[in-house]
């Protein structure tokens, strides 16, 4: 566009018309200043041009014909005649609105990235093949450095990493630089003020369109808080581990102690019970003296057995291995091995020889031995009858005694640990554990146990042995 020395528009071309708009108030002869939004700088510019100075790259906003303001960059160049006098001015406008919009968008997205970086404690960076780096604001924050005082090169970056971790960080960057994508690296960095924080870094190679390596791009995240909670968790786990190791050790010690004690107690008990039996044979007329020895030996045997059973059950290490066996044979075997417990009590086994069951033999032994011991204790000297019946595929074993029976109000508590029938007319001692052990073993094998008794005329204890589905007759 051509201006005269007063700054009036003399002529404009189509490009100028496009920028200013067809309905611009700038008609031929109007002063250009009328189109300028912020007019402060223009008079100086105009005066300089008249004096022969060129001005380029000057930013102003002009109003278009539709009333919209747009940014433009102008160049104002004096036009001279042959005697070097300024006779007019050439004004060149360049529309910046697209560029400014792009810059604004860029700035806005940068602000957004910066805010996201601040929130997520992340930062991003690029490094070229020569080791020069560019850091986002977040990177400076994460590394506790001042952008104004810290020039970034790869070497500077590595210098902030704690020496112990530097090798791993350096190796990851090298791998990325050679075109690989290495796994992320947790490492520590030392801030300018000496603070040490944890940083996670992930890097990958930057490639151009032809696949040539331009350098490395990466992201970092401050994971100090996460590491602190992980460390706290780890410490807590380790403490927990130490406590449980100690408990296991003490538990093993207890088992060993119980095994030793029971062994040491059983050895003298063998002599007491054995010699008492010999004495009964040698001097049958003094059975009245031998009977209390035998009864007490039986009681002591039961106490030792309860101690061991209860300890084993408490430790939760009872492993059941069900096998199939003939019920009557197993009952007779238990009865035969329970002689010292039973004393002078007679056990009558009334079980059909064809009944087989599937359960843990040892568990079965614990159940029956405790029921027999209980019956012998309360109904000593009388007869105990062990019988069995099969109902709907379930085997029900019963142990019946002819003792004093159990009052109805006590029956439901019989299987509670340490329960003793209060005020029992005979002084019957015991651990109060026998029937509790019975219930635990029965229930471990999926069965039920209960008692039926009429007070004054004996008690019968029942337990069920579930039969595996396929074995039902």
């Amino acid at each position: 566009m051509r201006l005269d020395l007063d700054g009036r528009v003399v002529a404009w071309n189509r490009a100028a018309a496009r920028i200013l708009g067809s309905r611009s108030k700038l008609a031929s002869g109007a002063p250009f200043i009328d189109a300028i939004v912020d007019r402060d700088g223009w008079p100086v510019l105009l005066a300089r041009a008249i004096n022969g100075e060129r001005t380029e790259g000057f930013h102003i906003e002009v109003q278009q014909g539709n009333g919209r303001n747009i940014p433009v960059v102008i160049a104002l160049v004096p036009l001279r005649d042959e005697r070097d006098r300024t006779v007019g001015l050439s004004l060149v406008l360049r529309d910046l609105s697209e560029q400014v919009f792009a810059q604004q968008t860029l700035a806005e997205s940068e602000r957004r990235v910066t805010r996201a970086e601040a929130l997520a404690l992340t930062g991003s960076f690029v490094v070229d093949v020569h080791g020069s780096a560019q850091w986002s604001a977040g990177m400076y924050r994460i590394h506790g450095t001042d952008p104004a005082q810290f020039t970034v090169t790869l070497a500077d970056h590595l210098g902030l990493v704690l020496e112990q971790d530097r090798g791993r960080v350096s190796k990851a960057l090298e791998h990325a630089m050679s075109g690989e994508v290495p796994p992320g690296v947790d490492h520590r960095v030392r801030h300018t003020d000496g603070t040490v924080t944890w940083v996670f870094m992930a890097v990958e190679p930057r490639l151009d369109a032809r696949g040539q390596i331009l350098g490395v791009s990466g992201v970092c995240q401050d994971i100090t808080a996460r590491m602190a909670s992980e460390t706290a968790l780890h410490d807590a786990l380790r403490r927990e581990q130490a406590v449980s190791d100690e408990l296991r050790r003490v538990d093993a010690l207890k088992d060993e102690f119980l095994a030793t004690v029971s062994h040491e107690l059983r050895t003298p008990l063998t002599s007491i019970a054995g010699f008492a039996a010999l004495l009964r044979q040698a001097a049958p007329e003094r059975a009245d003296l031998v009977e209390p020895i035998e009864r007490n030996a039986g009681e002591m045997h039961r106490l030792i057995q309860h101690l061991l059973d209860q300890a084993r059950l408490e430790s939760g290490r009872v492993i059941l291995e069900p096998t199939q066996f003939v019920l009557a044979d197993a009952v007779r075997s238990v009865v035969a091995n329970t002689a010292t417990l039973l004393g002078q009590t007679t056990v009558f086994v009334d079980i059909a020889p064809d009944i087989t069951v599937v359960m843990d033999v040892d568990g079965f032994g614990h159940i029956l031995r405790n029921l027999l011991g209980n019956a012998a204790k309360h109904a000593g000297g009388a007869t105990i009858v062990v019988s069995a019946q099969v109902t709907d595929g379930t085997v029900i074993v019963s142990v019946a005694d002819e003792g004093p029976g159990i009052a109805p109000e006590h029956q439901e508590h019989l299987f509670d640990p340490f329960f003793q029938v209060p005020g029992e007319y005979r002084s019957v001692r015991g651990t109060g554990l026998g029937l509790a052990i019975v219930r635990r073993y029965v229930e471990l094998q999926g069965g039920k146990v209960w008692c039926e008794s009429t007070f004054g005329s004996g008690a019968t204890f029942y337990f069920t042995i579930p039969t595996p589905q396929s074995d039902s007759p």
């Binding site: 095994a259 029971s262 062994h263 059983r266 050895t267 003298p268 008990l269 063998t270 002599s271 007491i272 019970a273 054995g274 010699f275 039996a277 010999l278 044979q281 030996a297 045997h301 035969a336 091995n337 002689a339 010292t340 033999v361 040892d362 032994g365």
Partner: protein, 123 residues
């Protein structure tokens, strides 16, 4: 009538076994350790050994293994007699070639039953 060697470090248990077994007409000798027992078996023979497990020096399992590997003693029957009477011990006894298992404490009849239940010596 059988000849029976009782191996147990407890003198009272050895006496008890002797009285029970002699009362039933058996011939009984005793050893307080497995080492003494193996020494005795070099010069005398026995139909049965009633063998404790936990003893000072050589234990019962070790002696059982040695007896199993001695051709001269392969007719001899070993009855394990232990205060460790869990199913693990019982299974181990039969797995390692013992002919019977007796849990302490036991009564005279039980010992006699185990000795009588063991199969008669071959030949």
């Amino acid at each position: 009538m059988s000849s029976i060697l009782v191996v147990d470090d407890e003198p009272d248990i050895r006496l008890l076994c002797r009285l029970i077994l002699e009362g039933a007409g058996h011939r009984v000798s005793e050893a307080a350790t497995a080492e003494v027992a193996l020494g005795l078996l070099r010069t005398t023979s026995a139909d049965f050994v009633v063998l404790d497990i936990r003893m000072p020096g050589m234990g019962g399992w070790e002696m059982l293994a040695r007896v199993q590997h001695d051709e001269r003693l392969d007719q001899m029957k070993v009855i394990i007699c232990s205060a460790h009477a869990g199913p693990v011990d019982q299974r181990r006894a039969s797995a390692e070639g013992a002919h019977g298992f007796l849990a302490k404490p036991f009564l005279p009849d039980e010992l006699l039953r185990v000795v009588q239940a063991a199969p008669a010596p071959a030949g």
